[in-house]
Amino acid sequence: MTYAPSERRLDRIAYRRRQAIRSVLLAALSTAAVGTLLTVAVTGAPGWERVKTSFFDFPTARKYLPQILDGLWLNLRLLVVCATLAMALGLLVAVLRTLRGPVAFPVRAIATGYTYSFRGLPLIIVIYLFAFGIPGLRLQGIPSVLVLGAAAIIITYGAYLAEVFRAGIESVHPSQIAAARSLGLGYRQTMRHVVLPQAVRRVAPPLLNDTVALQKDVGLISLAGPIDAIRAAQIGVAQDANFTPYVVAGVLFMLLALPLIAVTDWVTLRAARRQNAGS
């Protein structure tokens, strides 16, 4: 027997279509209204003309764009290095915190102390301590402020990432560990082949989210002196007494973050979908 949609069904479809058109129209209308309102509020403000010349001046933007882009290249390289090393450090510390047994006590204590203190310390202070404090020791072979600043960022973010990894490790059900151990796998093998792969998959969205935050915070390296995008913008601001370079740097940072944010959203969505699909 062939199926023919009933009157009832056709009626439903038609009704839903009418409703859909109606909501699209309403959305367009309200967007237009809000947009107009915002434009009027900003451009109609008494100081708008002055703000426009000191923050959105096109010639100034074009003049400093090359320097800021140069600086941004430093930020990008810093991001890759810092993200990689902070993840490695975080993973290591998280695993150390799960170790059992009396021999591992000092290791556990150090790992725990580290995550507690560096999550509480403001990144700016860590950068100052590293970039200005360590050279002050006047030891042989102290690396440049760039390396010291990067180390500060890695160590601070490592503490956050360690907690994310630890949450992932703890979210793996004990029955998985029991299954692995019952097959004769040792503690290390169980961690490596059963617990960590599941843990990392599960915390991929928050890890990426922290990487987005890191992407902005690598800009704090400018406090230590290296000329990154923010420092380059600051130089421009000081030379021309115009804030436009900051806006340029801000927009560039935002553009830099977009792909990472998109990937994060995609991974999060995929993880959520997989969790709903399974059982």
Partner: protein, 246 residues
């Protein structure tokens, strides 16, 4: 004798789960543990596999005391297979990887050899087509059969089955029980905790009724299930019959 438990005691805080329990299992023997929930069936299996430590008493495997704190638990577990009620397959690995993990990592077989052996088993249980699938694409019965294969490829001296059909839909129980029946045909030594009295009667050489943390009564299935001596056993079986499980 493959397994010998003597005067085993296990408590969780105030709760005495196993109390002076003794049980022997011979080579090629299939022993079914029956008893109410909380009677200690699962705990006994977990103690034998050293996932739990006994408080008192001893457990011997092939004559070696495995409850000796100097015994290496990893070595002991290599000789014992354990299958769980909830399968516990590794969700991030394919069926094949689940099965070959221990042969490659623990028993140091070459991946090719482990794979060939795994495929042989999968052919035998009719799951060869699922070798590349992830566990969440399998039915409960299929997952449990993979879990049994995963334990068996290590050629354990003893296979422990912990209520392996309890989480399954009724129409999937049969395929798992058929597989266990085949294993008995191979001469696999097994201890199985079960609520399937009909199955225990068919496949077990001996049924042990656990009550209050000890083996209250044991013997051939026809006797323990058909004509129990102890009043507690009769009571338990009467409740099972009432629930329509026998």
């Amino acid at each position: 004798m493959v397994l010998s438990c003597k005067n085993v005691r296990k408590t969780f805080g105030e709760h005495v789960i196993l109390d002076d329990l003794s049980l022997d299992v011979d080579e090629h023997e299939v022993v079914a543990l029956i008893g109410a929930s909380g009677s200690g069936k699962s705990t006994l299996l977990r103690c034998v596999n050293l996932l739990e430590q006994v408080d008192d008493g001893t457990i011997h495997l092939d004559g070696d005391e495995i409850t000796d704190p100097r015994a290496d638990p990893d070595r002991v577990r290599q000789k014992i297979g354990l299958v769980f009620q909830s399968y516990n397959l590794f969700p991030h690995m394919t069926v094949l990887d689940n099965i070959t993990l221990a042969p490659v990592r623990v028993h140091k077989k070459s991946p090719a050899e482990a794979k060939a052996q795994a495929m042989q088993w999968l052919e035998r249980v009719g799951l060869a087509a699922k070798a590349g699938a992830y566990p969440d694409r399998l039915s409960g019965g299929q997952q449990q059969r993979v879990a049994i294969v995963r334990a068996l490829v290590n050629q354990p001296r003893l296979l422990l089955l912990d209520e392996v059909t309890s989480a399954l839909d009724p129409e999937l129980v049969g395929e798992v029980l058929t597989m266990i029946r085949d294993l008995k045909g191979d001469g696999t030594t097994m201890v199985l905790a079960t609520h399937e009295m009909g199955f225990a009667r068919q496949v077990a050489d001996r049924v042990a009724f656990l009550d209050g943390g000890r083996v209250l009564e044991q013997g051939p299935p026809s006797q323990v299930l058909g004509d129990p001596v102890e009043a507690r056993t009769r009571q338990f079986l009467a409740r099972i019959i009432e629930a329509g499980r026998l």
